[in-house]
């Protein structure tokens, strides 16, 4: 617990309902979506506006108390676990759409806005905000920005970073900065907007975002291609791109994933397929028809067992929703589910899938793979049991090799979930020692006392996962 005087100052800013340090509040802010990690904060605070955030930061800065920004705690990298204690700042109360500017096609929103609610509102106005992480029903815009989340539409439409035009943020000192704005072009100095996107709460607390909206696609079609041979499916992905077709969605699910997803969503998928591709194209009707026909040809040339196009919008939505539940549905298999997001250039998908399978076999662990194949972003997912320490070590060894393989193939350790705590030991593999030094210098400039989400991104040593509790 914090010293009385500091508590009093925080209480004075937000009122007694919005600063909490009872055991319940601490326990329920000691975890996020990541398995096996838990650490108690000293308090939880719910600011109502930017001024409060700034005032809170000033108090915390004076007393050198860490602060962990939190949306809905759905991240999978330990990003909101308060490993060094401090105050968890929950952004849920700042959840309004401040403006939808139909002349400039931008929206100004607060960070606690739930992504899906935002998307629904924008769509009701006939516009489109493409980033759609599978967690959008509960994740927040602020969390999406801090993690630079991607989704099923990333291949064609890009990820969160492509839609953030400007930000308002509060620095560790309590000072408020504004970056970018409603304008489409802006090269005045360093691009602080882009720097804050994906900064995982380590550089500033984001308090407002200006987001780009686009016109929605006129038409879309969804299809499923099933393969008895994994390699054929992976080859199809590379070949579609080679043929210069960019589908809006190109998802890959292996056999184990298909089984659990089908069990959850009751789709009646054939369970004897080694892999399934879920493909969607959108745009002008003629183009969509042409692309889908061409993709169908490619699937068949790669020995697809069957190819089918969704009959209706509901059927298509059902398929996409089922895919979005893949990760959690896998949790039905074993008590602990560890999901990573190793990413490779998309021409290397087939090789990477084979590597993952080889590594899983070598370490005798179960790893199911699915993911945004179209952008090379795979989710190798280990189903395991945290109570079995020995098995967990094998899982860790396997993931280490998977990250290594990804980098060897020209890829990266994380495509969308961020580095956080979990992948901090591997960051140097990707960016090199000089890269780490530059990043640390940037951090120093924003947050000289290391108060913002300490322990994240930069590893103290090449540390392994801390196992505090089974998930």
């Amino acid at each position: 617990m914090l010293q009385q005087t500091i508590r009093q100052q925080l209480l004075a800013i937000v009122g007694s309902d919005f600063y909490k340090d009872d055991p319940q509040s601490l326990v329920t802010h000691s975890y996020d979506g990541t398995p096996m990690l838990q650490a108690l904060p000293d308090g939880v605070i719910y600011p109502a506006n930017t001024e409060q955030v700034s005032a809170i930061m000033k108090v915390l800065n004076t007393h050198r108390i860490p602060v962990i920004g939190r949306g809905s705690g759905t991240n999978l990298c330990g990003g909101t676990v308060p490993v060094e204690g401090g105050i968890v700042m929950v952004m849920h109360r700042m959840n309004r759409i401040l403006e939808v500017d139909l002349e400039n096609l931008v929206a100004v929103v607060q960070p606690g806005m739930i992504t899906k609610a935002f998307i629904a509102h924008v769509e009701s106005l006939g516009l489109f905000y493409p980033p759609d992480p599978s967690s959008m029903a509960i994740s927040t815009i602020g969390g999406n920005i801090a993690e630079c989340s991607g989704g099923l539409r990333g291949l064609k439409y890009g990820t969160t970073k492509d839609y953030v035009l400007g930000l308002e943020a509060v620095l560790a000192s309590g000072e408020i900065i504004r970056t970018g704005g409603k304008l489409m072009k802006d090269v005045a100095g360093y691009d602080l907007t882009k720097l804050l996107v994906g900064s995982e709460g380590t550089l500033a607390i984001i308090t407002e975002a200006t987001l780009k909206l686009v016109p929605p696609p006129k038409f879309k079609k969804t299809m499923l291609a099933m393969y008895k041979d994994l390699y054929g499916a992976a080859r199809t992905v590379s070949k579609i791109i080679e043929n210069r077709i960019i589908p809006s969605t190109l998802e890959f699910l292996d056999n184990a994933t298909v089984r659990v997803v089908d069990d959850f969503a009751k789709l009646g998928l054939p369970l004897d397929m080694e892999a399934i591709l879920l493909i969607e194209q959108d745009g002008e009707p003629e183009m969509v028809e042409r692309d889908i026909a061409r993709i169908e040809e490619i699937c068949r040339s790669e020995q697809a067992h069957s190819v089918s196009v969704a009959e209706s919008a509901e059927e298509a939505l059902k398929l996409l929703t089922a895919r979005r539940s893949a990760f959690t549905a896998l949790a039905r298999l074993r008590p602990t589910t560890i999901l990573e997001d190793a990413t490779v250039p998309r021409s290397k998908i087939a090789e990477m899938v084979l590597e993952i399978n080889r590594i899983a076999q070598k370490h005798q662990v179960t790893i199911c793979t699915f993911g945004h194949a179209g952008d090379g972003n795979l989710h190798p997912t280990a189903t395991t049991d945290a109570r079995d320490q020995e098995e967990i070590h094998r899982v860790e060894a396997a993931f280490e090799e998977i990250f290594e393989a990804a980098i060897r193939l020209g890829g990266t350790i994380t495509g969308e979930h961020g580095v956080g705590l979990v992948k901090s030991p591997y960051l140097e593999w990707k960016v090199g020692p000089a890269g780490i030094e530059v990043m640390k210098a940037v951090k120093q400039a924003f947050d000289p006392h290391q108060l913002l989400n300490p322990g994240k991104i930069f590893a103290k040593q090449s540390r392994k996962r801390v196992v505090l509790q089974h998930g």
Binding site: Q24, V27, T28, D32, G33, P35, F264, T328
Partner: protein
């Protein structure tokens, strides 16, 4: 798993936005208590009782976490240890759980007493004398919407055995419920009539007991098990193909008897037998497909439907009632926004957690009023009363609340030509 997919489905999280008021939060708290990270103190107990038990978190969870079982076990553990209930909760529980619901006869006696109270000048006296004001406000409000109770249950009124009309499809045992049988005897009778009309032979074993839902949800698990055994015996003796329920809350626990008795070697099989046969009245009517299309007798009317949480989330029946209602000609079915969200009634919730329940009800009524429906239909006595309370407090005076059975009965049985019972 802590993915958080269950958060948006949870009414108490939606109402408060606080992680501890969410399924994921409550599970974390339970875990923290079992891990010794936190004491099961009073605030923990309070949090556990904030949960509506609506089970909306279960269908939302892709990982198939059995939240209902977790909360019931937790509440059972709390019941065993607690002495911190607010002073009136414990005696109320004693009366409700131990004395009342296990004994159908006493429920009927109570029904009789209520009837006496309602029909004699006592009710008027109570209302005008201001005695009601002495009760907590929400109890007084509830009293106003209670229907006239009855000292005679369905078996006393119409007997136990009712042959099917026309070709018999199957034999069904009717679960009469306690609240249902006391406050809604007419609805029970109409349920039988709808069923026989649809081709089912109906048996109502008089030895059946309360379903035990209130007990199970409040941690009185042993009592729930006792009742379950009695019901299994009653329905097995009756030799029925289905057991039909017209109250989502009762139906849901009946389908979970297998879980309730899974450690009971003697009764395990019987529990599975019963659980497999339980079906909601709407589902059975849809399955039979034999009812002539219903007709609205008034001017074209507009109808809407409030899900019973347990019917929807545990019995997983959301389509059947809607299908039936859509078939009523002359009536326009409008879906209410968030009809799938708990109305705040949830067993004894509106008695024990008045503030949260009131908030939930207020939102519910905004959506109900927005449908501009003439009839708001429900599938569970608790929801029915709660919606009546809602209409009384926040309604525009136009809307009637009815059990779906009463609504359909009026339009099906009485309009179907072969019964010849045209409404006057």
């Amino acid at each position: 798993m802590r993915c958080g997919f269950c958060l948006p489905a949870c009414p108490t999280f939606r109402e408060t936005g606080i992680e501890a008021e969410s399924p994921r939060g409550r599970i974390a708290l339970m875990k923290a208590v079992t891990d010794g990270l936190m004491l099961p103190d009073q605030s923990f107990e309070e949090q556990m009782s904030h949960c509506l038990g609506c089970r909306a978190c279960e269908p939302a969870c892709p990982a198939d976490v059995k939240y209902g079982q977790l909360i019931e076990q937790t509440r059972e553990a709390i019941e065993e240890h607690t002495d911190s209930h607010r002073w009136w909760v414990k005696p109320l529980r004693q009366v409700v759980f131990k004395q009342l619901f296990p004994h159908q006869k006493r429920v009927r006696l109570l029904g009789g007493a209520m009837q006496l109270y309602q029909q004699s000048g006592l009710r008027k006296l109570a209302r005008s004398s201001g005695v009601m004001k002495l009760l907590p406000a929400h109890l007084g409000e509830m009293e106003k919407v209670l229907p006239d109770a009855s000292s005679k249950g369905i078996v006393q009124k119409i007997g136990s055995h009712h042959p099917a009309k026309g070709m018999k499809i199957a034999t069904v045992g009717m679960f009469r419920g306690c609240l249902m049988d006391m406050l809604f005897t007419e609805t029970n009778i109409k349920t039988v009539e709808l069923l026989t009309e649809a081709g089912f032979e109906v048996i109502i074993p008089d030895t059946q007991a309360c379903c035990g839902a209130l007990h199970a949800h409040s941690g009185e698990t042993e009592d729930a098990r006792l009742l379950a055994r009695r019901n299994i015996a009653a329905f097995q003796a009756a030799g029925v193909d289905y057991i039909v329920s017209n109250a989502g809350g009762c139906g849901a626990i009946l389908t979970e008897y297998d879980h309730l008795l899974h450690e009971d070697e003697q009764w395990r099989e019987g529990a599975v037998w019963l659980a497999k046969r339980v079906v909601d009245i709407s589902d059975l009517l849809i399955r039979s497909g034999k009812l002539a299309a219903a007709q609205a007798k008034e001017q074209p009317i507009r109808i809407t439907y409030q899900d019973s949480c347990h019917l929807r989330n545990v019995m997983r029946s959301a389509d059947a009632p809607r299908k039936l209602l859509r078939e009523v000609s002359g009536a326009e079915y409008v879906e209410m926004f968030e009809a799938d969200r708990c109305c705040g009634s949830a067993g004894t919730y509106n008695i024990v957690q008045p503030e949260l329940a009131a908030g939930l009800l207020e939102h519910k009524m905004e959506h109900a009023n927005a449908t501009k429906a003439h009839y708001l239909l429900t599938s569970n006595p608790g929801c029915l009363l709660q919606m009546k309370l809602g209409v009384a407090k926040h309604g525009d005076g136009q809307m009637q609340v009815q059990h779906i059975v009463d609504f359909l009965h009026e339009r099906l049985v009485h309009n179907s030509p072969e019964t010849g019972q045209e409404q006057p």
